[in-house]
Amino acid sequence: MSSFSFLDSGLGLTIVVFLPLISAIFIFLIPKKQEMLIKLITLGSAIITFLVSLVVALQFDFNDAAELQLGTKVSWISSINSNYEIGIDGISLPLLLLSTFISVLAIIYSFEHLPEPKNAKGMMSLILILETGMNGTFVALDLILFFVFFELVLLPMYFMIGIWGDKTVRSVSGLKNDIETRLYASIKFFVFTLFGSAFMLLGFLGLYFRGNKTFSIPELIELGTNGAFTGTFATLVFAVLFLGFAVKVPMWPLHTWLPDAHTAAPTVGSVLLAAILLKLGSYGFVRIALPILPEQAVAWAPAIAILSAIGIIYGSLACLAQTDLKRLIAFSSVGHMGFVMLGISSLTSIGINAAMIGMVAHGIITGLLFFVSGSMAHTYHTRDMGRLGGNMKLLPKTGAILAFTAMASLGLPGLAGFWGEFMALLGAYNPLPGLNVTIFRSSMVAGAIGTVLTAGYLLWMLQRVNLGEPKEEWIDQELHDADNYELVAWIPLVILTVLIGVFPKLIFGATNDAVIALVAKAFGG
């Protein structure tokens, strides 16, 4: 790809990160009335961002996927030796592509499907700022840069949930007055995440002072794998990093913000939250916590495995108890991210590869599930599964996609969801030598039970929502099936689900070398 060689040395990645932000600032300056112009600019900039990320992927040397490539390092905050250091390897590339791709789809969907109060200008600029934060997190190789991008996603998501979210009034234990779901969920999301990341920042500073005053992730990995961080210090730092990332994943028992946030968020918010934002946490584990503090990773692995197993079981059981369609999918995220974390905790190349494909698959499948459920909630004006039914007859297109996605989500072989779950269990069966095999095999069994439960609640959901005869209240109503905007946003995800399911090499081709190198370097395995 010599014709794009000017995109080497970081320019391509810089465009991918900052083009959305610049467009967002540009959009601020356009009068609100020019709605179509705003939408087109947003879509255009997202598409260009996606295309540039594709070019970057083409330039990426897959034979050397373990190395950080196409990056740059420019002085940023000289007084603290923090640099604008970016780059991608096989681990970050698939997630970066996922992020730029889902953003385009989210914008297409928002063309016609903005909840009250419409305000396209606000929503579009928030999506773009969010995209900068997400893309930036995946390419940042400096802890402070990482932190800034990691936090940059908070404000847009807070406002997305708070302004466009669910206006139903509910009572919350501990609060005197009833409160609108969106207001409660948005601040809960914000406070939980900030709580984790405030401590994470302290951990970063600890690494900085013990590690030759550098924030550079590659340099810290070099130091960490040579045993620079040990003892109580390392335990404390891992603990705070764990807190920061685990809240975001979210791992049980720090997950409680997730169902609220997902239920309250507007469709686009849920999609982006599930598809990308959750990955920031698990990506943080793989990129930062594991390689920089390998000794601690080994020490904490059993605990992470147990929490993941609990998360899987808990998530599935909670799903069985839900009557709210979106809340069910939100809890299913807790379960699926449990598989991702179980894979990571095994500290083997199989497990971490499973986590990587699991992240991508969960991004695609759950993103799609939230698209579909959000659209259905909009059509029916309810998410109560007790009132839904016969969706297949009322909305055949939507129903078909819902059925397909549910199958993918339960891990049907041949579709994307299968690989993450299956290989995570494999990884847990045979964890890194030296780890407590009993704990991991028990977690594996728990995970296996989880897959059965997952199949159970998803099929039951399908039965309640999709099958059967439509309830009387819907029969004489005019219900709109998926329109073109929706189909354009959804079909690519369906295709990807099948593609990755049949050719998992699409992901493993990028991740495998990088993961093997990481495991070899950090754990000698």
């Binding site: 601020f28 940023w76 940059l152 807070y158 406070v191 900030l194 405030a198 302290l202 600890g206 002072f209």
Partner: protein, 478 residues
């Protein structure tokens, strides 16, 4: 040459007031900015005047620049405010300028007398200004409280200074410090007593716990621009004095003072934040928030007192002070704008106001979340340098204070997000009278955009503060 310009700068400002026009003050404060920039550009080594009593170095120049800029913004905030209520214009600007002069003196003062005069010159005009709304009971109450405590604090400072002078017989800080070290009085009870008295005196100015009780009442009663000035410039003056005293006089007084400061700093954060959580009056909310912020600004100096790493402490405190100044002015601007439309003491009356006033809404988001320390807005870097200096040695007090700070950052988010939540997410209250005054007058627009740009730029390119590190090292080694 540079010396002359600095002095003339200090002396010229009040004289301009003979013309008693707002415009002149505003232009004057802008013009005063010019020599500062020239001096900074031509800076070679510290200028030492009056046998070491008055020093102009990079540190003092940067702070002078800050004070002048903040005063300039305060003037702009005041224009509509003063005009609309037919206050005494000339005196108003004169008093503010006098206070500015005091602040400028403090930044360069290196002896007891100069510093005392500077501090009092900076704070005395504020007693009058805080009671400017003559017919308003709250304003009178706040002003009286402020005055009584202010006099008390002045006498405490004076008492502490006189102890120092009595023990050493010297006025200039470097002489005092040398005498203390030579005669081995560094750790003596007298020195500690004087340090505590001075701390208590200055504690009123910077409103740290337990000397904070006047702040909410005075802030609430004073005209809004005065409140903004109080919470930014007056507080900064106190901090500058404290920073100079700690790092020039008490730097060898042992860890006792540092430990006291660590506790005060932590408690100040908690008291400020937990009280702010319960406020519905926006001005009181900002008052308590500024108390909590004072805890953050104090923290690096406190830990420096224990670890002895003053250079880092000064850098962190001053960086925080500068960023805090602009985002806090911005926050007061937001309140001003919203109150122009819906005059109310209860911020819950502002429901959904951002839809009518989108620009004010965006200002609110930027400034309040910057105060909360959310990247990429300036506040994050302020918090970051503080955390960095707290953890720099891994010393237990520093780390504990860092954890306290992290917890407080989360608490603070809850109330800082509240204003944005109300104006963006809530629905309009029904029984509220709106003035339909959504137009933003141009002076306020300037304040908004200047603060906005400074807040955002300092968050995205914090590299601009690297000069400050150099400045603080010059400050410390001169």
């Amino acid at each position: 040459m540079t010396i002359v310009s600095a002095i003339s700068l200090d002396l010229l400002l009040p004289r301009k007031l003979k013309y008693i026009v707002a415009l002149v003050s505003i232009l004057g404060s802008l013009i005063a900015f010019v020599p500062i920039i020239f001096q900074y550009a031509n800076y070679s080594s510290p200028e030492i005047l009056f046998e070491g009593s008055y020093v102009i170095d990079k540190f003092s120049l940067i702070l002078k620049g800050l004070f002048i800029l903040v005063t300039y913004l305060t003037f702009l905030l005041s224009v509509n405010f003063v005009e609309s209520d037919e206050y005494y214009q000339g005196e108003y600007y004169f008093l503010l300028l006098s206070s500015l002069l005091g602040a400028l003196v403090v930044t360069s003062s290196r002896d007891l007398l100069t510093m005392f005069i500077g501090i009092e010159l900076a704070s005395t005009p504020m007693f009058l200004l805080s009671g400017w709304k003559k017919g308003d009971q709250k304003s009178n109450e706040g002003s009286i409280k402020f005055f009584l405590l202010g006099v008390l604090s002045a006498s405490l400072i004076l008492y502490g200074f006189s102890l120092l002078y009595g023990v050493t017989g010297k006025l200039v800080f470097s002489d005092i410090a040398n005498t203390l070290i030579q005669s081995d009085l560094n750790q003596s009870p007298v020195t500690l007593l004087s340090a505590i008295l001075i701390l208590a005196g200055i504690g009123f100015k910077i409103s740290i716990v337990p000397f904070h009780s006047w702040a909410p009442d005075t802030y609430e009663g004073a005209p809004l621009p005065v409140t903004a000035y109080l919470s930014v410039s007056s507080k900064a003056t106190g901090f500058v004095a404290l920073i100079i005293l700690i790092s020039k006089v008490f730097y060898a007084s042992g860890q006792g003072l540092g430990i006291i400061l660590v506790f005060i700093s932590g408690i100040t954060m908690f008291v400020g934040n937990l009280s702010a959580l319960q406020q519905t009056n926006p001005v009181r909310l900002l008052a308590y928030s500024s108390i909590a912020q004072a805890g953050f600004i104090l923290a690096p100096m406190a830990v420096a007192g224990i670890t002895g790493n003053y250079e880092d402490g000064v850098y962190a405190s001053v960086t925080y002070l500068i960023i805090y100044a602009f985002m806090n002015v911005g926050a007061f601007l937001v309140i001003n704008l919203l109150q122009r439309n819906i005059q109310s003491d209860d911020m819950y009356d502002w429901g959904g106001l951002a839809r009518e006033m989108p620009l004010a809404g965006i200002f609110a988001v930027i400034f309040f979340f910057s105060l909360a320390g959310i990247p990429p807005l300036g506040g994050w870097f302020a918090k970051f340098v503080v955390f960095r200096s707290l953890l720099s040695t891994g010393e237990i007090f520093g780390v504990s204070l860092g954890i306290v700070g992290a917890i407080n950052a989360v608490i603070a988010l809850v109330y800082y997000s509240r204003v944005s939540k109300i104006i963006w997410m809530d629905s309009p209250s029904e029984n509220v009278k709106s003035n339909k005054d959504t137009l933003i007058p141009s002076p306020l627009r300037v304040v908004g955009f200047v603060s906005l740009i400074l807040t955002i730029v300092s968050g995205i390119f914090p590299g601009i503060f690297s000069n400050l590190g150099e400045a603080s090292s010059i400050f410390f080694n001169s």
